[in-house]
């Protein structure tokens, strides 16, 4: 078999005889990618530890900022229900989703535009595996998962404080935790779709440094409860980031399910959850379409 198969290191041997890899094969390939990345990360162990420490430092700073804010106010937005404990659940959700995106997709999206610029995408196209899969999962940045752990700590502390406070204590039900996990996954999928769309445009544009900044600035909107935008000149933004580029749904839906800022749930909440599911499927489908269209326009670089 051609040397182009070597990325899949050891599962490559099995794949040689099967040109239609099924679902378990994809899973195996992914595990191999994950293991390779872990081996790579562990080769530069000090660097890995430093990266973990610095991202936890960033988390601490943010927590400090919000703690300072709650020195002055009891909630974010009047009557929105986002008091300190519930808002920290919101932050934990942001942290979960961002760390998953950073661990699994960010390094790949960065590499993707590099592959296009250098013509390395040829090798990815040649492999008997779905190109989008290969491009999206090749690398895992394990150190980004330290933020996942940080989010977990924030969530535990917030849940503990929420359950034990004298006024309006709350313990989330098992169903809401289950739904939470599902919608965190949906949030990650929406973010992934957005990222794939943006990085696919680098096929047309050649380079997209500005687009990555764009990604950062767009996702910046997802970091706060969506109702804060729902006033005055924020309404068009609110509509745009809920229905066109649904970044507001990413953190808001799971966080609302778990924290229940307004309970009992209103019909708008339920409608939002339904739209969240539809938006997830739609964005995944659209990103797939954009990716395929972009591949059609790919002309290899160099000779």
């Amino acid at each position: 078999m051609p040397a182009a198969y070597d990325v899949t290191v050891d599962s490559g041997a099995e794949m040689e005889h099967d040109f239609r890899p099924n679902r378990t094969k994809y899973w195996k390939v992914f595990l191999t990618f994950a293991r390779n990345s872990l081996v790579r990360d562990m080769t530069f162990r000090t660097n890995f530890v430093l990266q973990c420490i610095s991202s936890i430092g960033w988390t601490l700073m943010n927590v400090g900022f919000y703690l300072i804010i709650f020195q002055y106010t009891t909630s974010i937005g009047a009557d929105s229900g986002w008091d300190r404990d519930k808002f920290f659940l919101f932050i934990a959700t942001t942290w979960f989703i961002n760390s998953l995106v950073q661990a699994f997709f960010m390094p790949n999206a960065e590499e993707f535009s590099e592959l296009i610029r250098t013509g390395g995408l040829d090798f990815a196209l040649l492999k008997p595996i779905d190109t989008q899969f290969l491009v999206s999962f090749r690398r895992v940045d394990w150190s980004a998962l330290s933020n996942f752990a940080a989010g977990f700590v924030i969530a535990l502390v917030a849940l503990y404080s929420l359950a034990n406070r004298p006024v309006d204590p709350m313990v989330p039900s098992l169903v809401s935790i289950l739904l939470y996990v599902i919608f965190v996954a949906c949030g990650v999928i929406i973010m992934y779709s957005l990222m794939i769309c943006l990085s696919a445009t680098s096929i047309w544009l050649g380079r997209n440094q500005t687009l990555y900044n764009f990604w950062f600035y767009i996702t910046n909107f997802s970091r706060y409860p969506m109702e804060i935008y729902n006033r005055g000149w924020g309404r068009p933004l609110y509509g745009f980031f809920t229905f066109v580029i649904p970044v507001l749904l990413v953190v808001n839906i799971p966080a609302r399910i778990l924290a229940r800022p307004i309970s009992p749930q209103t019909w708008q909440d339920q409608l939002l959850i339904g739209w969240g599911l539809i938006a997830t499927i739609l964005s995944l489908w659209i990103s797939r379409w954009v990716f395929k269209r972009a591949l059609l326009s790919y002309r290899s670089a160099s000779s």
Partner: protein
């Protein structure tokens, strides 16, 4: 390292030579920066996008304070900052950061030390620190030449947040002074950190820690007066506030006018301190340094 020839030169000749050298450095750096002006103006405009989030976040915060305490949004305040002040503050820190941030300075110095490129400053009659300072000034000037348009646009759109209008002339002068000194402090502080590269080869993690601290303690994230009292007193003694908080606070009149001369004098002391530290670190570092190969 003066050759007999240079020592016989008159001072005016040497000054003229220096001036032409500076002009050459400035014009090269300016040209370098203006190549991608379109991309650059767009990038600058996008940098204001997070301000939108900040506006809505702070509105929500002030809104809920107002709801619990009563009164109107106009007289709801956090440590002397009304809602409009808060937005104006974030906009002004963007200006302050445009002066004081030095992307790539410390890491660039550390890399030159590691790669051995620093040798060229040791054999050529150019002083590393003044060369870098001049390049930086030229880069910043090119940056302002392009960025003034997006900045003017955003400030025009947000003019209603500046409720007290233009400050008086002395305050504006102090603001300008604090921006320029902020630039210098930013430069010498980061250059001094880059000099650590003479002692440790890898400074990137140290740099990240510095960036975190400066982001938090400079007031880029929130006005420093919001910190709990005892912490605020301590943070006020640190030089980080000159990178963002201080100029913005001057403009908004949060620092009493009669205190301005003293505050600016303290800033000048910090600036002198960092210049001295940077010079000493460079002199010591060069003595430690050994270059091999070519």
């Amino acid at each position: 390292m003066l050759s007999p020839e240079t020592t016989t030169q008159t001072t005016s000749q040497r000054l003229r030579w220096k001036l032409s050298l500076w002009r050459a450095i400035l014009s090269t750096a300016l040209g370098e920066r203006l190549v991608y002006r379109g991309d650059f103006a767009l990038g600058t405009l996008m940098r204001f996008l997070p301000i939108i989030t900040q506006i809505f976040l702070w509105y929500a915060i002030f809104d809920s304070i107002e709801a619990t305490q009563g009164g109107s949004l106009k007289n709801t305040e956090i440590r002397g900052f009304h809602f409009t002040d808060m937005v104006a503050y974030y906009l002004l820190t963007m200006i302050a950061r445009a002066f004081s941030s030095m992307p790539g300075l410390a890491s660039g110095i550390a890399r030159e030390i590691r790669d051995g490129e620093i040798k060229r400053y040791l054999i050529q009659p150019i002083d590393l620190i003044s060369f870098l300072l001049l390049t930086r000034i030229a880069h910043k000037m090119a940056y302002y030449a392009v960025a003034i348009l997006p900045f003017a646009l955003v400030f025009f759109l947000c003019r209603d947040y500046f409720t007290s209008g233009w400050p008086s002339w002395p305050v504006l002068a102090a603001f300008a002074g604090s921006l320029i000194m902020g630039f210098m402090i930013g430069f010498f502080l980061e250059a001094a950190i880059g000099m650590i590269g003479f002692w440790f080869l890898e400074v990137s993690s140290l740099l990240f820690v510095y960036m975190l601290f400066s982001f938090f303690l400079s007031g880029h994230m929130f006005p420093l007066t919001m910190l709990p009292d005892n912490v605020a007193t301590f943070v006020n003694l640190l030089p980080f506030k000159y990178l963002a908080y201080f100029p913005a606070a001057i403009f908004l009149g949060k620092i009493p006018e009669e205190d301005l001369p003293l505050e600016l004098a303290i800033e000048a002391c910090w600036l002198t301190f960092f210049i001295v530290v940077c010079r000493i670190a460079y002199a010591r570092g060069v003595r430690r340094y050994s270059g091999f190969g070519g």
